[in-house]
């Protein structure tokens, strides 16, 4: 089974803004500090799909085109990443060729959890 190396990165507001432009998702909870401050989150949060991209990056680094052509991902968003968070995506092998995957922040809070797998026939 391929070795899947963790991916670590720091989420910044600039990154969130760039993701908003790239994805077309300009929900003010992500990009408008004054709006976001008045919400229960108390400030802007990263798009879940931006945080999730670190799992796909990790799997693509390990499996290359096989991930692009046969990868499966099933996750739950459990908590948001915020500007300044250092997030780490990691994978733990499971029986049957699956991986348990997660993204956690610098405090160990799990932001995303789920499973990923890649077809061995691809």
């Amino acid at each position: 089974m391929n070795d899947v190396q963790p991916v670590e990165k720091i989420i910044t507001q600039e990154m969130i803004n760039r993701y908003a432009d790239a994805s077309g998702d300009h929900n003010p909870i992500h990009v408008d500090e004054s709006f976001a401050t008045a919400t229960p989150f108390g400030g802007t949060i990263a798009h879940g799909m931006l945080t999730l991209a670190s799992i796909s990056e990790m799997m693509a680094a390990a499996f290359g085109k096989r991930w692009l052509s046969s990868g499966k991902l099933k996750i739950r968003f459990r908590a948001p990443a915020r500007p300044g968070d250092r997030i780490t995506a990691s994978a733990t092998p499971q029986p049957g060729g699956r991986f348990s995957v997660q993204v956690a922040n610098q405090r160990g809070d799990v932001l995303i959890s789920g499973t990923a797998e890649v077809s061995i026939d691809a």
Binding site: K9, A22, S23, M49, A53, L68, S70, L73, R76, F77
Partner: protein, 138 residues
């Protein structure tokens, strides 16, 4: 300037299908995405000058197409995501997204909707299938 009316997601019943939407992902789209998520993997280059698309870029742009028809009320939270890649897709490839509301339920004043989508190639082959679950304040 005219805008197309969008239907709030909580008002859309289970089973409703949306009209297919054709789209292409450009090199600029790919570069902007990879820059925004800080992904430096080399696997997106096919070796003959073409570029493969990251699955989550395809997912994000498919959801973007969907949001042209669907309004997400303030406070909506994306709680779950499933994707299954069937084949790698490339920059400038003609793609079509098909989508529908797969599930809709109400609980504790919240509406929970699951959007199911499928991206197919011009030849009609499935490239990616996915489900996004969204919780919306009632």
């Amino acid at each position: 300037v005219t805008t197309s009316p969008r239907t709030p997601l909580p008002d859309i019943p289970k089973g409703q299908e949306f009209p297919p939407v054709a789209f292409k992902v450009t090199s600029a789209d790919l570069e902007a995405y990879l820059d925004s998520v800080d992904d430096k993997n080399q696997c997106y280059a096919s070796g003959n000058g073409e570029h493969y698309l990251p699955p989550l870029l395809l997912t994000a742009l498919a959801l973007k197409q969907l949001l042209l028809a669907v309004e997400l009320p303030p406070g909506s939270v994306h709680t779950g995501q499933e994707i299954e890649m069937r084949q790698a897709t490339r920059v400038s490839e003609k793609l079509v997204m098909q989508s529908r509301v797969a599930q809709r339920s109400e609980r504790a004043g919240l509406v929970i909707s699951t959007l199911e989508f499928k991206v197919v190639t011009e030849a009609g082959d499935a490239a990616l299938e996915g489900r996004a679950t969204v919780v919306i304040p009632g």
